[in-house]
Symmetry: C2
Subunit: 328 residues, 2 copies
């Protein structure tokens, strides 16, 4: 493909594989390299024509990649890789530690502004598409209330917390939006609901041999921050059941804005996602924003950017006249 | 309010009144004038401190208004007013004749570029927020299908068509999305559905005295373009029933994008609106985009713009750092 956007993938876990798949679906992109800390031979690219390179030589490929999609984790990978790679590449990442976004933004903005690159952070669905809908909601319906519900979905952080309980061999945790709370919100009246009232939690746990199930259950449901404020159900299952029934990564959720206009008309805006694969969807959003990052970078709009700074049209392979004609 | 955005309202029907209400809900805007072709004394502003001016002297107020919100109709008002007023004002409008958008865009772009103003066109929910969701949907899930459903809602164009049937005194028409079609779409498999398969139509008709109801019904359900391709139900009611039960203007609808990622994971993105008042909601969207138009104009980004060209953050009264902290 002539003039295709050359995408690099930094980190080849679930997210990186998802980006490789998503790039293959886009009409104007090629996957130009996978960068990994693992031995190159251990990587099986989705498309085996894509070269695999060592992460520690990544800056040598600065002129071979238009946009580097950072597919590492928010806890330890991105805070370091983001600013480091923005020196060499226009980047997109899915940094999702909400409380630390301002700090991460500042570090990226410094690095990208100095280097003349564009660094798009916190792309995905939350933060990402959900954030955009929270913004449109509160701005259009200024007199109203916004509700975000997550699930039904597998929560990595809560699954990890369950796995740290003594006597737990393996575990997954699903966050489930409360049907009752959603119905209340849709019915209007702007109810006040805590995160705990909006969701229930369900754990599927494989015990280590000889462990007291009642003790494990008690340790889970009373765990502060993670479970104490929720209605939590714990199911004990076998390792075989866990492998057979709980290895997919579904997720999703709702952003609902209810507001009043005029002399009291009730208006409801609702956005929802139902995802078979959470990481693959996040990868697809990252890939669409990689196109926007490339356009921003080429037009000299450097520094850190979020989804709030990026006009919808920049995501599309279609030109503005075609978009107006076909989609407006 | 110091430095408040001074909003002008051109045309004071349902849409104009809605803008007056919406401006009152926004923290950083004032309504600085209502412009009308009717006698000023016949206008009752929502806030009676707002001055009412004659439309034919509107250009005299160019330095008193930051953004003029055009609240006329798409058929005859906007094609003329849009380019004419863009010579004097930064404008926002809800032009919704989909097929003629490219032509209207070109006329506005010429006028606004020459005048150094910004003209934001086709703002509302469809075109508008629905268009944005069609764009995000097809770009993120490149392998998939998009479905737009409208309703349940009162359709002005179809109501007018029924009123033109001989023997009809008054009428309203509701467009109703087919539950069956929505369920098919959500279930996946990307079914092919015509607009007629996606919607049914319901008419409430008041007859002129001595009219043959069966003949009217036949004329309605067989009307080409409007009803022939739909399942249409006609109810005959009295003028009193029409006034009591069918004077609100509810509307809404869905944009659903279903797609596949990776090795076949099914992903569904869904956007929906449930509106007690269609014109008041459109007015609220116009008002939020008036803020964006003002920011674009002040930063020298002149010419015609659509919702595809406007970054979400520009709609908000919050600054970018606050948005990142609170909403991302």
């Amino acid at each position: 493909m002539v003039n295709a956007i050359r995408i690099g993938i930094a980190g080849y876990g679930n997210l990186g594989k998802g980006v490789a798949h998503a790039v293959a679906q886009q009409p104007d992109m090629v996957c130009a390299g996978i960068f990994t800390r693992r031995p190159a031979a251990s990587i099986e690219p989705v498309n085996n024509k894509v070269p695999v390179y060592p992460m520690d030589a990544i800056e040598q490929y600065a002129d071979k990649i238009d946009v580097m999609v950072l597919c590492g984790g928010s806890r330890s990978d991105l805070p370091e890789q983001g600013p480091a790679l923005a020196k060499w590449f226009t980047t997109v990442d899915s940094y999702d530690t909400h409380a630390k976004i301002p700090e991460y933004y500042a570090a990226l903005d410094d690095a990208a502004s100095a280097a003349g690159t564009t660094a798009v952070l916190s792309v995905g669905w939350d933060p990402g598409l959900f954030s955009i809908n929270r913004l449109y909601g509160e701005t259009v319906l200024a007199d109203g209330a916004t509700y975000t519900f997550w699930g039904k979905g597998l929560s990595q952080g809560h699954s990890d917390a369950v796995r740290r309980v003594e006597g737990v061999s393996q575990a997954v945790q699903y966050t489930i939006p409360s049907e009752e709370a959603i119905a209340k919100v849709r019915a209007g009246g702007a109810p006040e609901l805590t995160t705990g009232e909006k969701h229930t939690r369900e754990c599927y746990v494989v015990l280590e041999e000889g462990t007291d199930a009642a003790k494990v259950e008690e340790a889970i449901v009373t765990m502060p921050d993670y479970f104490a404020d929720y209605s939590t159900t714990v199911h004990f299952i076998t390792a075989e059941e866990l492998a057979a029934e709980h290895s997919a990564m579904p997720h999703g959720g709702f952003v609902i804005r209810c507001g009043n206009t005029g002399a009291g008309s009730r208006q409801v805006m609702e956005y929802s996602l139902t995802l078979d694969s959470n990481p693959e969807f996040t990868s697809s959003v990252l890939t669409a924003y990689a196109r926007a990052a490339h356009k921003l970078s080429r037009s000299g709009q450097h520094g850190a950017k979020t989804v709030f700074d990026i006009a919808p049209g920049l995501l599309s392979p279609k030109d503005p006249a075609q978009l107006r004609k076909e989609l407006l």
